[in-house]
């Protein structure tokens, strides 16, 4: 039974994601997680400030329930289905990260330098997390979707706009890691 605690290989994970998209289609919904961020804005009263948020958020209640499930799934996955939290990334990647100051690389699930409670004492860490989140939220809505909406749903539907968005995701991600990381960390 030890296999259950092992990380899932890509050939289990990828088909599972496709299966989740299939299930959502079969209950008449679409797979797209960043739409929830817009719904949360509307619930917080953003419709008074911009028309973009004027819609009946109850029509998106199903998606909020999916995201609540994702929280519960994260709890189950980490507490009951994982013994060793270390992510076995490439040793070359580990030495790169060590040089940038991420000594937790290869030893934990997330870098402790950013995601441990004590790390919140550093203003720089807070800024990194906040700017990262800000760009994700702004960019996802500007592009009309995120990884699930474009890279999975949109590309499965052979949508050219989704291909442009995914190319954009990679231009952004590669720029951040190859050019901006050495300046930030």
């Amino acid at each position: 039974m030890n296999w259950i605690y092992e990380p899932w290989p890509w050939y289990v994970s990828g088909p599972m994601i496709a299966f989740i998209m299939f299930l959502l289609l079969m209950v008449g919904k679409n797979f797209g997680m960043s739409a929830n961020l817009r719904t949360m804005c509307t619930i917080c009263g953003a419709s008074n400030k911009a028309d973009f948020f004027k819609f009946d958020w109850r029509s998106q209640k199903w998606n909020l329930i999916v995201i609540l499930g994702a929280v519960i799934g994260g709890f189950i996955g980490s507490h009951f289905l994982t013994a060793d939290m270390a992510v076995a990334i490439n040793p070359d990647t580990i030495s790169d990260l060590n040089e940038l100051g991420f000594n937790s690389a290869g030893k934990s699930y997330l870098p402790t330098e950013l995601f441990e409670m004590e790390s919140l004492l550093s203003l720089k860490t807070i800024l990194v997390l906040a700017i990262g989140g800000l760009l994700v939220g702004f960019g996802a809505r500007y592009a009309g979707g995120c990884t699930s909406g474009h890279a999975i749903s949109g590309l499965s539907d052979l949508q050219l706009p989704s291909l442009i968005a995914v190319i954009g995701f990679f231009i952004g991600g590669l720029t951040m890691i190859h050019f901006l990381f050495p300046l930030i960390f």
């Binding site: 199903w62 990334i89 950013l114 994700v136 952004g172």
Partner: protein
């Protein structure tokens, strides 16, 4: 009943995101360094099966579990919004190491600082709504 179905699908998604390590900041960094096949294998295999699923639903006019027609929303034609929006998203994805699904999975896994990322992404979405009309689409 439907609420329960959505919850179960979400739980399945959360477990998948955590166990596949797609929710790990390290895996995202490694992917953008092209130093592992892992993330490409996940997205690639999801995509190949996804294409077969979606095209089959369209070709054979497969109905939903409730007997309704399955709708796909074609994206509006444009270049700039997808390219610029995509680049901005990619910058944030690599920095925070989490996209809008996995960030919620990480809450459940007990990483409190991810709440800053989530709060900021809601603010980012709000800022887009405010400036939407001034941006090239």
């Amino acid at each position: 009943m439907r609420t329960l179905i959505y919850l179960v699908i979400g739980i399945l998604f959360g477990i998948t995101m955590f166990k596949s390590e797609a929710a790990s900041w390290f895996r995202i960094y490694e992917m953008f360094k092209f130093e592992s096949f892992h993330m490409y294998g996940i997205i690639g295999s999801a995509l190949v099966i996804g294409i077969i699923v979606v095209q089959s639903i369209k070709r054979f006019k497969i109905k939903s579990f409730y007997g309704e027609r399955i709708h796909f929303n074609p994206k509006t034609k444009s270049f700039s919004r997808y390219m610029f929006g995509g680049i901005i998203f990619g910058l944030g994805w690599a920095l925070a190491g989490a996209c809008p699904g996995p960030m919620f999975t990480l809450v459940g896994a007990g990483y409190v600082p991810i709440l800053i990322v989530i709060a900021a992404s809601i603010v980012g979405t709000f800022l887009y709504g405010l400036f939407k009309d001034k941006l090239p689409h």
